[in-house]
């Protein structure tokens, strides 16, 4: 489903402070996988997720999503891929502050042009699965961290993307909420068949992932 071939990524390239963030990354993620990218802070976990999610550019190599090379697409095509193929869950939730929970969850579906009824039904379904149906009318500012993270997951899942990229989703959660989130992600993976790729250094997340990709200093040590 996702294939990275000899991917290199630099920050501040050709400058004195140049950082070689990803070194010759070769990685294949199969459809329906539940994987975690782990490693010490600054090893390149987020950068790897961002390059897979075409949020960031690469300097060398190729990235394939369902056999389509995506790293060298135009900005417009990348936006289209992010909209239709990928769901993002950010460490800091990154919900839209002016929209309530229901609108946040349905936002991507609205962008994709689904009808109001379809959006409403899907939002209710996901909210029920993630146990946030009582918060649908609330603005994000009035939710707890755990609730906001569930909304972020719901938003990522609602439009049924092929893959969810979650960057340290449990970093701001207590252990109870982390457990709940992981269970929920497992269920989504199982029920919806969504490929899930985490970045995390949370032991609980690592233990519960089916596959662990270990990164160190921009290189894959173990996969």
């Amino acid at each position: 489903m996702i294939e990275l071939k000899s991917v290199d990524k630099y920050f501040y390239k050709s400058q004195e402070r140049e950082v070689h963030a990803l070194r010759d990354i070769n990685l294949t993620i199969q459809e329906g996988e539940f994987s975690v990218i782990t490693g010490p802070s600054g090893c390149g976990k987020t950068t790897l997720l961002n390059t897979i999610g075409v949020l960031d550019t690469i300097d060398n190599g190729e990235i394939y999503l369902q056999n389509r090379e995506i790293a060298n697409l135009s900005s417009k095509e990348k936006t289209e891929i992010r909209l239709k193929e990928i769901g993002f869950v950010f460490q800091a939730y990154n919900l839209i502050p002016v929209l309530n929970v229901e609108e946040n969850i349905g936002f991507i579906m609205r962008l994709q042009g689904y009808s109001q009824d379809t959006i409403k039904a899907r939002v209710r379904e996901i909210a029920s699965l993630l146990q946030i149906e009582k918060q649908l009318g609330a603005l994000p500012n009035f939710l707890s961290g755990g609730q906001q993270q569930r909304v972020a997951v719901a938003r990522a899942v609602a439009s049924k993307p092929k893959i969810i990229l979650a960057d340290e989703p449990t970093a701001n959660l207590d252990s109870k909420n982390s457990t709940a989130l992981m269970e929920m992600m497992h269920e989504l993976n199982k029920k919806e068949g969504i490929t899930i790729l985490f970045s995390s250094h949370d032991d609980y997340v690592i233990k519960n992932a089916r596959r662990t990709i270990l990164l160190n200093d921009g290189e894959i040590i173990e996969s």
């Binding site: 961002n50 999610g53 949020l55 993002f88 950010f90 990154n94 929209l99």
Partner: protein
């Protein structure tokens, strides 16, 4: 994007309120200011034309460049008939101007003495309304003169003065006149050098029967002056030439243009300040929301949609301000057009500019209001261009990491 724009407007109240108020105040002030400016210009012009100049004048060719008796209209009957046959004219009259020296017992002053038909002038100009003492319609050796001229010659009503000049055949003319009437138009230069007398006696003295320096005419409606003047122009004999008020009052037109220019420059400076304040407020707000734009872009909102969102926000705020400012500004301008502000002594202060009334005139013109609103509207939309460029200059990742 539309509903998101509305939600953003309601959520970011500080920026919305600032933009709304600034737009409201600028548009309101702009409409009222321009109405006052145009009103005073139109009033100055109307006064000047009504007082004496008329809306167009007919001369023998070359009179205005060479001057003198050699270029008088020798027979006014035909052009007067053309004017009589033309619709859209309020009045017209021939005038014959001559220049000479007027002297009281101890003072002398060059004057412009004009022979006029008092009855025709009554319909044409405001010379009768300008009467302050004595009588308007003089007969025989009787003069109707400007108050300032009388002051210069130390003359009063009923006093005698001598006039020395030249008849149209260049023979010498000398006569004793009585001051029968005094006028004040408010135009200082005019009031300090002009005197009028009845045309019959003027022709006897100056041998000028059926002659004229020029024929003055006033259109019923100044807006239609061009059309009426063109009709007359086509029928005029070749040796005659018609001049519209824009040419006759060139210096006043230029004065008004300069005044308008300075007015617009002042407003322009005001708008530049407003523009930058709106832009800076917008920019601060957008900079604070940069992370939000990063998220939107990350989850699949295109750059164009982000631009559209920002444009919609400013568009809605501007429209909202316009909904209040436009009718209020238009109503204020219209109200003051009907009920002008009166400033005691203003006409005395600005008499040299042709201001003859203490009323501050206002001109409500829907078309001007429309154009001015359009200008401000465009300016407001322009204020979002740089913030849009700024947002688009980052990658989604840079924006989501923005603090």
């Amino acid at each position: 994007m539309f509903s998101l724009a509305i939600k953003n407007i309601l959520f970011y109240k500080g920026r919305s309120l600032t933009t709304f108020l600034l737009t409201f105040v600028s548009l309101y002030l702009f409409i009222v200011y321009v109405a006052f400016m145009n009103g005073s210009h139109q009033s100055m012009l109307q006064n000047a034309l009504n007082v004496y100049t008329g809306s167009f004048q007919i001369y023998q060719k070359e009179y205005r460049s060479k001057g003198g008796y050699d270029y008088l209209i020798r027979d006014t009957r035909k052009p007067l008939q053309i004017l009589a046959d033309t619709k859209g004219l309020k009045a017209f009259a021939p005038r014959l101007e001559t220049f000479g020296i007027a002297s009281s017992k101890t003072y002398s002053h060059p004057i412009m003495l004009t022979g006029i038909d008092f009855n025709r002038e009554e319909k044409l100009s405001e010379l009768k309304k300008a009467l302050t003492q004595g009588e308007y319609n003089t007969h025989g050796a009787c003069l109707y003169m400007g108050e300032n001229l009388a002051q210069k010659l130390h003359l009063h009503l009923g006093d005698t003065l001598s006039f020395v000049g030249s008849a149209v055949d260049y023979s010498f003319v000398a006569e004793l006149f009585e001051v029968c009437g005094l006028f004040k138009t408010g135009m200082y230069e005019f009031d300090s050098q002009s005197a009028f007398m009845n045309r019959d006696y003027f022709d006897t003295l100056f041998f000028s029967k059926n002659m004229a320096t020029y024929i003055v005419a006033m259109a019923e409606n100044l807006k239609h002056n061009d059309a009426v003047a063109t009709k007359v122009e086509k029928k005029l004999p070749q040796e005659l030439q018609l001049y519209r008020w824009q040419t006759l009052m060139k210096s006043m037109v230029q004065l008004m243009e300069i005044d308008s220019l300075f007015g617009y420059i002042s407003m322009g400076l005001f708008f530049i300040v407003i523009f930058f304040v709106i832009m800076i407020y917008g920019f601060i707000n957008i900079n604070a929301r940069l992370r939000e734009f990063g998220v939107l872009r990350s989850i699949g909102v295109s750059d164009n949609k982000i631009s559209l969102l920002l444009l919609l926000e400013i568009l809605l705020l501007t429209l909202f301000a316009f909904v209040f400012a436009l009718p209020l500004g238009a109503y204020t301008a219209y109200y003051f057009q009907i009920h002008p502000i009166v400033i005691e002594g203003m006409s005395e202060m600005y008499k040299s500019y042709g201001v003859v009334s203490d009323k501050v005139p206002t001109l409500f013109d829907p078309l001007t209001v429309f154009y001015n609103s359009l200008f401000l509207f465009a300016l407001n939309l322009l204020s979002i261009v740089y913030p849009i460029y700024y947002v688009r200059s980052f990658t989604p990742i840079e924006e989501t990491q923005h603090v």
